[in-house]
Assembly symmetry: C2
Homo-oligomer: 244 residues x 2
DNA sequence: CCACATAATGGTCAAAAAGACCACTTATGA
DNA sequence: TCATAAGTGGTCTTTTTGACCATTATGTGG
């Protein structure tokens, strides 16, 4: 998977007040990029190296350009930062208090993305202070209203993950039922019963067994499953609704 | 209830490309204002009298001003159009395709509002072609991407109404359980069982009996109930979640 | 004054789902 | 071989859902 962190166009991050060519002056995009690692929910944060906010942490983002849609802009920022494309990404909402950015009037449209560990492996190893995966529970002091944006994104994720099968976007393509359960436990901050969770999942016939098992584990190897978008669509047409 | 429909500042509706003083040039606000009347879910639409879109229907909206927050701007547009204040209002999302408005680049932030029949009585009687409550199922051909915005708002409302007690904002302060049921049936387009619906509602202890009954009805008078925000907050703190 | 229509209200009952808990299986490292 | 950690299957009770029937209250029209 391509990783272009070192080329991240920091001059376009919205913490920089200076706009680039073709930018829309008063409209920025911010991205809340969630990842799941070692049983913890993480968010990608950037640290400014230059400009008025040098040393400050922020959500990654940048200016909206004239020639791109807002969805396209969010995808561009994610790609520029991580090299990832075709990632689950969704608009959170716009943030537009008058004084959210000192000395200028900038409305930002926040997006959140869910990325798979297999896709961001390279980033995790990245050791500069510029970009870092941080525990969601342990973040504060971001610039502007980014703390609030994150809080909002987290709330939206917690709600959405219970009613739509988007959690799979945080797991590898092939995963075990226990991994899935641990994902939900981490996001929702609850403890679930293993057999019951397993039964619930299999009853909705949403997961496809890969016919493979875990390798090199110090215990009985678990069956690997995958999420099938087509099956989900078909179930939805029959009036199916995903729950927890 | 004050009603200032005739003073609605049509020149600031976003269908007019010309911006007003203090406006932000490329940012508009559009409002999806829902009402409930005679068992039908309605939306407030405006018809342009002048300008390039004369005769066209649109969602009400206008420019975002420099000195106001986006939430404040949405509230201002609602007030200018209907005279209503302190109405349930929430951001839907931003719409920002490059070509959503011909010949200019305008990002719009859509809001939706729920208004009570007792509040909009005066508007219903308003007979000009400028502003009209229209059946949600029967709307198409709005300008720009307003059809899509409406579709989005409707989907969001349908989802939200099932998981949060916001439906009450469409009913009078005092309402019967049947009115509430009919509201849900209209929004969700389903048929519900009366005794079961009643039991479900009373079991969550969210509604407060007013101690009054319906008057002048040609059948057994129903108890009137009201929604109590404080009770809801208290229940939420105990881990309560509203469902259907 | 008496049926009648309409809606409120109360009750039952079976099916389905949720949740708690126990028991056993399987693969690996010590 | 044995302890361990995780997979897997089972049971049981409680809750919830949904369907349906019965009764009660209130105004209307004959």
């Amino acid at each position: 998977m391509n990783n272009r962190v070192e080329e991240a166009p920091l001059t376009f991050i919205s913490g920089e007040i200076r706009t680039g060519p073709g930018a829309m002056q008063n409209l920025s995009i911010d991205c809340v990029i969630f990842g799941f690692h070692q049983g913890r929910l993480k968010v990608l944060c950037v640290k400014y190296a230059i400009g008025p906010h040098a040393g400050c942490w922020a959500l990654p983002g940048g200016w909206l350009h004239n020639a791109e849609s807002i969805d396209g802009s969010a995808a561009r920022h994610l790609r520029d930062l991580t090299g990832l494309e075709d990632i689950y990404m969704e608009q959170l909402q716009a943030f537009g208090s008058v004084d959210r950015v000192p000395d200028s009037r900038i409305v930002t449209i926040a997006y959140y993305a869910l990325v798979r560990p297999e896709d961001y492996e390279l980033i995790i190893g990245y050791t500069t202070t510029d970009v870092q995966w941080r525990d969601v529970d342990n973040i504060s002091g971001l610039i502007f209203d980014h703390d609030e944006i994150l809080r909002c994104a987290l709330q939206s994720l917690r709600h959405k993950v219970r009613h739509e099968p988007i959690g799979f976007n945080l797991l590898p393509k092939k995963f075990t039922l226990l991994q899935l359960q641990e994902l939900y436990e981490a996001i929702l901050n609850v403890k679930l019963d293993k057999p019951n969770f397993r039964r619930k999942m299999s009853k909705m016939k949403l997961l496809v067994p890969c016919g493979e098992k875990q390798q090199h584990v110090a215990h009985r190897a678990a069956e690997l499953y995958r999420f099938d978008e087509a099956i989900y669509q078909r179930l939805c047409e029959q009036g199916f609704t995903f729950e927890v």
